[in-house]
Amino acid sequence: MSDPRDNVQQEFLVEAQELVEALSRDLLLLDEAHHRGERIDPALINEIFRSVHTLKGIAGMFGYKHVGTVAHALEDLLDDLRLGRMSVGQNLLDVLFDSVEHFQRLLTLEDPQSPQEEAGVQQYIAAIRSVGVEEEIEEGDPLEKYAIDPAVLTVLTEYEEHRLRACIREGLQLYRLRASFDLMSIDDSIEELREHAQEDVEIITYLPSMEGGNDDTIELVVLLAARVTEEELKAQFGGRYGSIDAIAEQTHLPTLPPQHTSIPVLSMGPSLEDDGGHASLRSVADSVRVDIRKLDHLMNVVGELALVRSAVNRIVDRFKNDLTYRQSVMDLDRVGRGFERQLSELRTGILDVRMVPLGQVFNKLARIVRQAAREHDKQVRLVVTGASTEVDKLIVEELTDPLMHLVRNAIDHGIESPEARARAHKGEEGTLALNAYHRGSNVVIEVEDDGDGMDAHRLRDKAVERGLLSVEASQELSRQDMLNLVFLPGLSTSSEVTDMSGRGVGMDVVKTNILRLGGMISIASEQGTGTKITVTLPITLAIIRALIVSVASRTYALPITAVREAIPYVPEDVRTIQGREVITLRGETLAISDLARLFGFRKSSQQEGQFVVVGSMGNRELGFVVDELIGQEDVIIKSLGKSLSSVRGFAGATDLGDKQVALVLDAPALFTEYFDGPDAFRSLETRP
């Protein structure tokens, strides 16, 4: 039983993680806008503020003191930014980006209050504070252009006032929208209005109007700033909400009736003051985060349903020849088939849910790109294609580290400094492309840079120097062979080859990780032009759920799709029919096959405590006698080498970790061998 508090804690961590990811994504957008010199969308800053604010709220509730402290300091900083007290600059961006790292570390702490973290947190907070407050350069108050009633100004929040000024300064036209709202549903309507407001329209505030309205409705005057013309705006809002007119300069904004000045005005900026941890409840996400174990559970339920289906099948078979029920049995059979079809859809659907877009990894990589580029004073443009390409969740998780390494490599060693690029007549800004696409049942991911490329001969010389390659062997290498040397252990971590040391993980580790996923990695590089690393992975098929069993102290994996159930093995219940061993299961005869004997490990199994794993294929069933059930696991099947391809009964092998390899049983082959084999069920000679 899990402690409910653990669950709550888990929920917190998941939500916090989501917030940090959102923060990271938004910061990248901010960074990009800043570097392109584009106008910074205030909604983006609000979004960042909101993430940090919510994080602060929930961290407080769950005793994540350091997270709360950092979030609080950041919130102050972001508030200054929001209110235009400072502008987006490099220092600010750096500090903000650091927060992602800090949050991620603080969220993984064993003890969220750990005093050891105190110093680091305080240091970071000092850094946040030192970004300081830059006063906005005032070039005359733009509000002076409009004759605004001081009463209005007093009800504008500081944020609204700032936005009003900023919008006028940016040359946006002010509009007044009059609309009446039902008092009962005013919150929803306003939310809807905000959603309607496009990029080019900003809602500054809204004020209750004096006119119109009755007991059930209220008329509001909404102050809009827009980049679009009056006609366009009317087309967008007019019909729906009421009248719109432009506010000419030097005209009066709607004035407030004096008796209303004390009414708390519904704030139009995101209401951040009092929503505590609830902001996220409102977030309109079109996706949900699901614990993969829940999907596994669903998959198991599908398995159970398949059992129900086969039970129905058996009943149908039993009554098939009974004329009394002929019609009913036929109906049942038809219904059963329909059920089976839906079931297979369900199975496909669940598999589909496990698929996640590679964009999840690419987002993380974007941050690495930025960080690495800054570390090396390089200019790098990241171009991503195919971020929506989907891969099994498990593969995506395992893919992050290798891809991160490839991206770092491309920037550390591939893309040159702006000066070097200029000398080579390339644009100062290097390009790093991440491309993903499907090819057959594989997904291909390319990491491509337009940097300096790899020096194949230097790699070869290094390999020889390090004794990884004999001199004579090195003479016969093609250029491609030389490039492939980069995957040799002990080569790519070298500081000389890569001009960069201390990372500790080399290309050999990348290759190992990719191979472990059942994938392939290849490299293409032209000196002076760039390098392209191509990773090819199975979309999902290589990963199967397997029942891990032990037979004569050896471990085997049995694909779960072939397993119906497992029951205790009772030697006394075994009978033989023409030499074949059978047991009786729920009134039916079940043939059994002792794997230890089948594989030639021993002659007979008369031990207690063994199990019969009932496998089913089509309408055949066969019980495999095993010594122990170890558990279920997702395993990655790798094929056995060519030289073992003639050995029957094994679909491949899988690495269970700690270099322990388990063979994966080939259930269809074992069934065929048992039922159809020319010399069916022939035990091999027993090994000593």
């Binding site: 001199v471 003479q475 073992l644 690495d655 270099k659």
Partner: protein
Amino acid sequence: MSAGQKATLAPEPDSETGAVAVLAVLAGNEAYGIPLGSVREILAPPPMTEVPRAADHFLGVISVRGEIITVIDLPKLLNLEVVHDGTYGRVLLVDNGQELIGMAVDRVIQVYRLEPEQIEYASAMGADLSDYVIGVGRVQGETTGKSDDILILIDPVSLLGGIA
């Protein structure tokens, strides 16, 4: 293709005399020389997973950095007397032209540089030797403790190429 051609040894390029480098290993009671160029790696034996129903000379499979490698038992493959108790000193990763094969040997002795006059090719020996035997190398050293000893030079591609 004559026996002499099929299994020539690539001389070391920096050698003026045409010397070749071979890795000497002990299998059973015999010393074998394997061209150094075809040995990718020498491993301390990792945990072995036996493959039931495979031919006797297959020891099993191992995982090398996530890759599943088939391991053969060199003494058994060569029908030599098995002198050990089922444990092996080293596993060499050898390219057989199709895949990497693990070759379990009792012991790795050392690398020898054989001058042409130390090599006697099978084709010149006239004896009825297996295809994979390139010839013999005469070395002085501690292979089997005798002062003048022979290394049986073998070609991994023809020994392991079509193995099943």
